[in-house]
Amino acid sequence: MVQEHHSLRGLAAGLTAALLLSACSLLAPHPSTSQPPTPQTSSPQPQGSSPQPSQSPSPSPPAPHAPPPARENHLSAATRSLVAQARTQVAHGDLPAASSTLDRALRIEPNNPLLWIELGRLRLAESDAHQAEGCGRKALALASGDRGTQAQAGRLLADALRAQGRNQEARDVESQPFMNSSP
């Protein structure tokens, strides 16, 4: 009984956090800029011996087709400044420098889909649609649970596919449900 009590309390706390997060995302459609660097790794693991992914509030399965737990990806102060620097370098036509700058950002936050989207856009600018596609797919995998970022990643992927003449695959991506989210 006591055990169950604890797990339920944890559940409620998780749910509250999830509600707050989704409320945040409703209130702030544009990514806010003062978030912790890696939101996806923010919840502590219960025990080293029984790892549990951070997103699901309970080991029990959610109802089928329930919306995945809301998450929102942000850039940290460091990666934000590097992205700004990369964009400046692109504006000056120095694509190789921009590429190295984004490499730095990715070393800091390798699992941030926003950085992979940024890198994919750069690859498109370099006319490397194949690599852009890889970045788009990687971003999409990392954006799981973040509709807004999924939509951005999906648009990158569709553009990269189209640039390779794979229009049908691009349309398939664009017909995914997450593509309806506003940017």
Binding site: Q3, E4, H5, S7, L8, R9, L11, A12, L15, P37, T41, P44, Q45, Q47, G48, S49, S50, P51, Q52, P53, Q55, S56, P57, S58, P59, S60, P61, P62, A63, P64, S76, A77, A78, S81, L82, Q89, D94, P96, A97, A98, S99, S100, D103, R104, L106, R107, I108, P110, N111, L119, R123, D128, Q131, G134, C135, R137, K138, A141, L142, G145
Partner: protein
């Protein structure tokens, strides 16, 4: 008779004249030949400036996992010295966790940073914040890229070549004052110098002075052997004269400064003042003080006799003689000479950042990815992905454990060997390479070239192939029961478990965690060998393995580097990142030759890889890799797999955190059995290396349509953490039904709202 005498004389004169003409002609041809040798080779040497190789610079930002002590160690590695930072670049001051740093001018891949004053606050586990000199916030700041070597991509010599602008004026003048006072006047050979030397030798009754000019010394080093014959001396003199005729004094002096032999570091000859400065003082030449420069200049006379590491007293005396000569030549004032003469030698401790195994990979990737003609250009800068901290941690862990394992072994006539590669799986960046226990020496690079059977390291590919079919999940029960196969060559094959036990029905997660051979062979045969081979290839194995059932237990041979490529895809959510050691190469003007990009390609379905990766965390939590946790910070989640080849000839561990992937191999060079499993040999090396580099837990983003469920590790039945002591969390396709443990599984699952209601009810009452 009367006519014949003058006739004979005339004949004699003619013969003599012909001989003189012939000799002159031969001499002229000889001189022309030497002239051509000198111009061609000197020109060639002048332009074959090696590429400078840099490590990945350390980025500092709020939250970066760098402590105050780490930061100071890094600054020392970069040859920053403690002092007053306002005095000039290359100096820092530390107060507790607060650092003021005067960063040097350096060229990064993407920009040149001018000298800059910054303040850094470091805490006990990470960087707290950074500020500019004017107090404004600095979001991110790069430390200097560490120079780790110089390679001629073609022949692989190690040199730090100075261009004329890099030579400190005092060095230029000092070398002339000490070694060749009339350098600016003579034409390559100095008759006065020779006479003076001869006079000194005659008075002493033995050879005490050479009388060679700098030009002659350079010619000797460049073109000639060490023998002391008249013929060689003549050749040397002619070549010196021709060199002077073709090249400026400054070219010759700078070439001399780059060529001169200054000492020996094991098998590595220290040539040139640039490398000498690094080797003896761990500082760039420009930062040497008067005494340090004087010591280097003094070494020219006898690098082994005056070796400051072996003969400190001789070296000190020689330095002080040079200081006196510099003062006599009015290059420094007498007071400064006296002060410098009282200073200690200031040598850096020996050992350090020489990383031949890593440079080996750099050379191969340069050859792989660049045109040879591009690499021949002078003054290239190669920016690598080397992380000196990870490199040091991997070297230290390997040598320490091999020494321990050797001491515990009964084998006395051979030493265990090993290899470690550390990579960033997200980018494919190779950050450390250890090619054997003699870490500072060139030689057989086991990390790149030792091709060995991988044993159970192959199993994740078998399980991934199974998950990809959709017919299996972590809770699927497998049959760990004896099996005998008839092979195509007519022989039979009856594999066994390492423990020689038979486990019966086990959930897939446990079969992998405990590396059960029988269950794996049955699984692999059910999935099909071609599928398993396909999976290995899509993960990154370059040659498709032979379809033999023993493939399922890892008879396939791979190098540690190839294992890294395959496991990178597992650590990177199914995305294959092409391994690279070279980020970019810049030419002398700072233009990129060809920039390397992070190459990612979708290689395996992310959902299947996620399910597999979660099973691999059980290897270290409950299975054959559980020895790792005692060596890692508490609560760190890592995924990995042990591997042991037949008769324990090879001990492997491949594993990853959220930050790094590392692969370790331990074995004997002559392939004899080690008596070590992957867990006993390679795993401790892996765990200690990973523990000493700051590394985040492995917590991948869960894909949609995959969810966590609790199952019994022994029986595979769905349960709760509270209900079963051996409950483990596994990732399975969302919504699938799992057989439940009676009285435990909450099936049908109550909705979230039901649970909330129940919780409120419980707390209110």
């Amino acid at each position: 008779m009367a006519r014949s005498k003058p006739h004979r004389l005339r004949n004699l004169l003619v013969v003599l004249a012909v001989a003189i003409v012939a000799l002159t002609a031969m001499g002229a041809i000889w001189i022309v030949y030497l002239d051509r040798v000198v111009t061609r080779d000197f020109q060639g040497r002048l332009w074959s400036v090696p590429a400078r190789v840099y490590a990945e610079p350390l980025d500092l930002y709020a939250g970066a996992p760098v402590t105050a002590d780490d930061l100071e160690e890094e600054l020392r590695r970069l040859h920053y010295r403690s002092g007053d930072p306002t005095a000039g670049p290359g100096v820092y001051r530390r107060h507790g966790g607060d650092f003021d740093l005067h960063a040097r001018r350096v060229r990064f891949v993407d920009e040149i940073r001018e000298p800059e004053l910054v303040s850094i606050r470091a805490g006990s586990d990470s960087i707290i914040g950074l500020r500019h000199a004017d107090g404004t916030e600095l979001p991110v700041f790069r430390l200097d890229p560490l120079l780790v070597g110089n390679v001629f991509p073609v022949h692989g010599e190690d040199r730090i070549v100075l261009s004329p602008g890099d030579v400190p004026p005092l060095l230029r003048l000092g070398v002339k004052a000490v070694e060749d006072r009339r350098f600016d006047e003579h034409h390559g050979v100095d008759p006065y110098g020779i006479l003076r030397a001869l006079w000194a030798d005659l008075r002493a009754g033995r050879v005490i002075q050479g009388g060679s000019t700098l030009t002659q010394q350079l010619v000797k080093n460049y073109f000639l052997s060490d023998e002391q014959t008249i013929g060689r001396k003549a050749t040397e003199a002619v070549m010196a004269l021709r060199l002077e005729a073709h090249f400026s004094k400054d070219d010759i002096l700078v070439a001399y400064l780059n060529e001169v032999y200054l000492g020996q570091d094991g098998a590595r000859a220290i040539h040139g003042f640039g490398l000498g400065s690094e080797y003896f003082f761990a500082k760039p030449l420009a930062e040497l003080d008067v005494g340090e420069l004087a010591l280097l200049i003094g070494l020219v006379k006898g690098p082994s006799y005056y070796d400051p590491r072996k003969h400190a007293d001789r070296a000190r005396a020689r330095r002080n003689v040079v200081l006196q000569e510099l003062a006599d030549a009015r290059l420094i004032d007498a007071a400064a000479a006296k002060r410098a003469a009282a200073e200690p030698l200031g040598l850096r401790p020996p050992g350090g950042s020489y990383v031949p195994a890593y440079l080996d990979l750099v050379r191969r990737h340069l050859k792989r990815d660049y045109a040879e003609a591009d690499l021949a250009a002078a003054g290239l800068a190669v920016y690598t992905t080397l992380n000196p901290r990870a490199q040091a941690a991997a070297e230290h862990s390997l040598t320490r454990h091999l020494t321990r394992l050797d001491a515990a072994s009964r084998v006395r006539d051979a030493h265990l060997e090993g290899a470690v590669i550390v990579a960033d799986p997200n980018s494919g960046d190779v950050v450390a390479v250890v090619g054997g226990r003699a870490v500072g020496a060139e030689g057989f690079n086991r990390a790149l070239d030792a091709r060995r059977p991988i044993g159970s390291l192959v199993k994740p590919a078998v399980y991934l192939a199974a998950l990809e079919t959709g017919r299996y999940n972590a809770a699927t029960m497998l049959d760990d029961a004896p099996i005998t196969l008839k092979l195509s060559d007519g022989s039979t094959w009856a594999p066994q478990n390492y423990t020689h036990e038979i486990y019966g029905r086990v959930p897939m997660a446990r079969a992998l965690a405990e590396s059960m051979n029988l269950a794996t062979v049955r699984l692999g045969l059910d999935v099909g060998l071609p599928r398993v081979a396909d999976t290995l290839v899509s993960l990154g194995l370059e040659t498709r393995p032979t379809l033999n059932p023993s493939l399922l237990l890892g008879t396939v041979e791979m190098t540690p580097l190839e294992v890294v490529q395959v496991y990178t895809t597992l650590a990177n959510g199914g995305f294959r990142a092409r391994l690279r050691a070279v980020q970019a190469v810049l030419d002398e003007q700072g233009r990129p030759l060809k920039s390397f990009k992070v190459q990612v390609e979708a290689a395996a379905p992310p959902a299947a890889v996620y399910q597999l990766d979660r099973m691999l965390t059980l290897v270290t939590a409950r299975g054959t890799g559980r020895g790792a946790s005692a060596r890692l910070p508490p609560g760190t989640i890592v995924a990995g797999k042990t591997g042991t080849s037949s008769d324990t000839r090879d001990s492997w561990f491949a594993g990853f955190t959220g930050t790094y992937l590392a692969v370790v191999w331990v074995g004997y060079d002559d392939n004899r059995p080690t008596g070590l499993t992957g867990a006993a040999g390679a795993l401790p090396v892996w765990a200690d290396a990973i523990a000493s580099v700051k590394s985040a837990s492995f917590q991948p983003v869960p894909p949609e349509l995959v969810e966590d469920r609790w199952i019994g590790f022994g029986d595979g039945l769905e349960t709760t953490a509270a209900c079963s002591a051996d409950a483990v969390a596994v990732a399975v396709p969302a919504g699938i039904s799992l057989p439940g443990k009676p009285g435990c599984a909450s099936s049908p699952t109550p909705s979230l709202t039901d649970k909330i209601k129940a919780w409120f009810k419980n707390t209110i009452h």
